[in-house]
């Protein structure tokens, strides 16, 4: 069955590749993109969107997407580093969540062993309260956290994930002890949303997209996003502009295996540069509501390094990683 499906896929891809070939003669790359997660999640959707954009824009001759699910990407990255060394056609989608997962899972393989290529998208975290909550502003929530961090219950995604880290950073910004926060992890955003709507917790924290339709329907009150102050708009206020100094983005990026030559690294980076500018990619970003945060090459490598250091510090401070 899966062989058969793969066959179907290949012929569909071949057809797409032919179309691509006609538009640009330079389309030579045969890329493989690994999504280190099960089909359907954010990383998988990113990989399949890249596949669509790369082939339709004629940047790659063919793109094959594979899924290697497990442990927040720990299994996928181990495969990339151990089995794909020096393969200049292999990419892996990853994101901020993986930075934390590798630390909490004590992974023997780290992101330093990969070749960073580019950051693609970003989503800011949103902090919400139920519409009937007495808390009206981010400042009030910060005061409540400062008064007694344990009494403010947070609902969000898995322990050690970006939601958890953002909640810890909020406590820190509010001047409270981040080790004392009462963060309640739920599996997946849906269950957390139900707990927030039902008024079971004080506040909810997750990607803005998880809450968007409830905010618009007036069932949740948005206290702010973890975006930079200059990105704030009336219906998307920034926490920093509201007086709680907290900036964090849940970004997604691509990395390549270790052991690439400079030419191979440049070819992959060029392909990503061209994809990011293509109309196909831009229209996918718009359709999915993903924010463009494209950065490639050394600038991305530097960001990756900084994020790893900051995440380690936060996770150590909440006790998820032992120093």
């Amino acid at each position: 069955m899966s062989q058969y499906r793969k066959g179907l896929w290949r012929s569909a891809l071949a057809a797409a590749a032919v179309v691509g070939f006609v538009t640009t003669a330079a389309a030579q790359m045969e890329l493989k993109i690994m999504a280190p997660a099960a089909p359907g999640g954010g990383w998988d959707q990113t990989a399949r969107s890249m596949q669509q954009a790369l082939t339709q824009a004629g940047i790659a001759k063919s793109v094959q997407v594979t899924n290697v699910p497990g442990a927040g990407g720990s299994i996928g990255i181990a495969q990339l580093v151990n089995n794909a060394k020096g393969d200049g056609n292999q990419l892996m989608v990853m994101g901020y969540v993986m930075v934390g997962a590798l630390l909490t899972n004590n992974s023997p393989v780290t992101l330093d062993q990969t070749t960073p290529i580019a950051r693609l998208t970003a989503e800011y975290e949103a902090i919400v309260v139920p519409a009937n909550s007495p808390i009206k502003t981010a400042k009030e929530l910060a005061e409540a956290v400062k008064a007694d961090p344990a009494k403010v219950t947070w609902a969000g995604g898995s322990a050690g994930g970006v939601d958890h880290i953002a909640a810890a950073l909020f406590a820190k910004a509010a001047g409270a002890d981040p080790t004392k926060i009462n963060y309640i992890p739920f599996s997946g955003g849906g269950e957390a949303l139900a707990a927030i709507l039902g008024g079971k917790v004080t506040a909810g924290i997750s990607g803005y997209g998880e809450f968007e339709s409830q905010i618009k329907a007036g069932k949740l009150r948005l206290l702010g996003l973890t975006s930079p102050a200059d990105k704030a708009t009336p219906d998307k206020p920034s926490l920093t502009a509201e007086g709680v100094n907290l900036e964090i983005a849940n970004w997604r990026a691509v990395v390549a295996p270790p052991g690439l030559t400079d030419e191979e690294k440049k070819a992959l980076t060029d392909a990503m540069d061209r994809m990011a500018k293509s109309n196909e990619w831009q229209s996918i970003l718009k359709a999915k509501g993903w924010e463009d945060s494209y950065v490639s090459g050394d600038a991305f490598a530097k960001i990756l390094e900084q994020e790893q250091a900051r995440t380690k510090e936060v996770l150590t401070s909440v006790g998820l990683v032992k120093s």
Binding site: M1, G40, Q45, A78, G190, A194, V201, L320
Partner: protein, 499 residues
């Protein structure tokens, strides 16, 4: 009466020839993947997403719904015929269904599953159309303490799946609970019992366990018995169709199953497995033929099958009204909605009524199509059992293995599958029931994390379990269900001594 008008409107949309075609493709694909263990509807929808991007939103969402319903149907066929649940929600079906198939009553078992799914699916779809907005308000009131109480009810009632010996049943249950501890602890993010194997961090996959215990264990057991005694399988004994008595015993079970399935499926953390357990134990208690349970009672197929299909419709309640995906397939459908820039949630009914009602109406149509498609195939499916045993079981081993590695391509997964197969063989050999192991793996982690969440929210005060009216009621039900049999027995003895 707006709902009636809107539904009629939806029916005209769903009956457009193109949408009918999409529904047909959906149910065919869904049935096919439901039959294969490991490859579920979620994976299928994921693979189709990039292809359907070009299509119109209505058509492809109708197709996804067809896949979802079809998958629920298909899973029961393999459960009944070859004791291999295609999905965890059809595991309970295997308990009685496979016994019936072995006794030459595979035809009626498949028929009651198909008709029961149709009846329950229809009841649940009507519920979805008319009750969704009210139900969802109740559903979000369910807090962690209430889920924990619901799990307690489930734990008490699963004793019905224990077979004859409670001690053996409890042993099996605890093996399952132990397996449920493996992996990253959801609340603290720390790894438990993973022994440094990264593949174990995500815990034991329910389908791997179910396929290993049921399919592989069964194949090994049959192979080991061949020298001692040849088990003769009669593909058909008596009528291929349901007799009048079968109908009489099935219809109440269908309705009760639907009544368990729909509301629990509509809970944000309900799922399709729990209503099947509840339905099975209820049927076993209420049946006029309790002695047939364990040897092939038709109510034990009719109820759980109705329950899992109704639960599938139930999961669409939070999806459409809140944008809450509560199953893997619902999550994929949410991704499908978002692909078209649609955000399921409170506004979807107002913004795109054509789409929502078209989808609900197409569920009726998908249900009808599945019935038409599956009933004539019953005769063909049953012939599977006429395949010589060595070939049949070799085929089962191949399918079980392919399905498992297709879902999760890793050598560790294969090793687990084999280990569970051996465990299943040993348990069968020494007469331990295998269903409670899977039950333990499903319920254990939910019960644990919900209890810890409840205590975390209440700052450690256990009284929260009794303060919530829903939780208190459910715990009382669990207590009565637990104590009542002993009390009745005691009273009986008391009377006996008095006489």
């Amino acid at each position: 009466m707006d709902a009636f008008l809107a539904l009629a409107n939806g029916l005209t949309i769903a009956l457009e020839p193109m949408n009918l075609l999409f529904a047909l493709i959906g149910v065919l694909l869904g049935t096919a993947v439901g039959v294969l263990p490991g490859i579920g509807p979620a994976l299928t929808v994921a693979l189709l997403l990039p292809i359907t991007f070009q299509l119109d939103p209505g058509g492809s969402i109708i197709m996804f719904a067809g896949i979802y319903y079809g998958g629920m149907y298909g899973g029961s066929t393999t459960s009944i015929l070859i004791n291999t649940p295609g999905e965890s929600a059809s595991m309970v079906t295997a308990l009685e269904g496979n016994k019936m198939a072995k006794a030459g009553r595979g035809g009626p078992a498949l028929a009651t599953a198909a008709i029961g799914s149709f009846v329950a699916g229809t009841i649940a779809t009507i519920g979805l159309a008319f009750l969704a907005p009210y139900l969802v308000d109740i559903a979000i009131q369910f807090g962690p303490e209430d889920y924990f109480a619901l799990m307690c009810v489930a734990f008490v009632t699963v004793s019905a799946t224990f077979g004859d010996s409670p001690i053996r049943g409890l042993t099996s249950l605890f093996i399952g609970l132990m397996l449920g501890l493996v992996g990253i602890d959801l609340l603290t993010g720390q790894a438990r019992m993973t022994f440094g194997v990264p593949e174990l961090l995500d815990g034991v996959e329910v389908t791997t366990l179910a396929v290993g215990l049921f399919a592989i264990g069964e194949a090994l057991y049959v192979a080991s018995r061949r020298h001692i005694q040849q088990e003769t399988l009669e593909p058909v004994r008596g009528s291929l169709w349901m007799t009048k008595q079968d109908w009489g015993r099935s219809w109440k079970a269908w309705i009760r199953g639907a009544l368990f399935g729909f509301p629990i499926g509509a809970l944000p953390a309900g799922g399709a497995e729990i209503p099947t357990f509840l339905s099975y134990s209820t049927e076993r208690r209420l049946s006029k033929h309790p002695e047939e349970f364990g040897t092939g009672a038709i109510e034990g197929v009719a109820g759980p099958e109705a329950a899992n299909n109704a639960a599938a419709a139930g999961t669409l309640v939070p999806l459409l009204t809140l944008g809450l995906p509560t199953s893997a397939t619902a999550a994929m459908m949410l991704a499908g909605f978002q692909q078209y820039g649609l955000n399921p949630g409170p506004l979807l009914f107002a913004e795109r009524p054509d789409l929502v009602w078209g989808l609900i109406a197409s569920l009726f149509i998908a249900n009808g199509m599945l019935l038409v498609l599956n009933l004539p195939l019953v005769g063909l499916w049953v012939r599977l059992l006429a395949i010589p045993q060595p070939w049949l079981y070799a085929g089962i081993l191949v399918f079980a293995t392919i399905g498992t590695i297709a879902a999760n391509p890793s050598p560790v997964e294969l090793m687990m599958l084999t280990a569970f197969g051996v465990l299943g063989f040993i348990m069968r050999r020494f007469d331990y029931p295998i269903a409670p192991v899977v039950v333990g793996l499903i319920l254990g982690p939910i019960a644990e994390s919900q209890l810890r969440r409840a205590l975390s929210i209440s700052l450690g005060d256990p009284m929260v379990l009794l303060q919530s009216p829903i939780s208190a009621t459910l715990l009382a039900i669990a207590l009565i269900a637990l104590v009542a049999p002993f009390v009745l027995k005691g009273l009986g003895r008391f009377r006996a001594t008095e006489d």
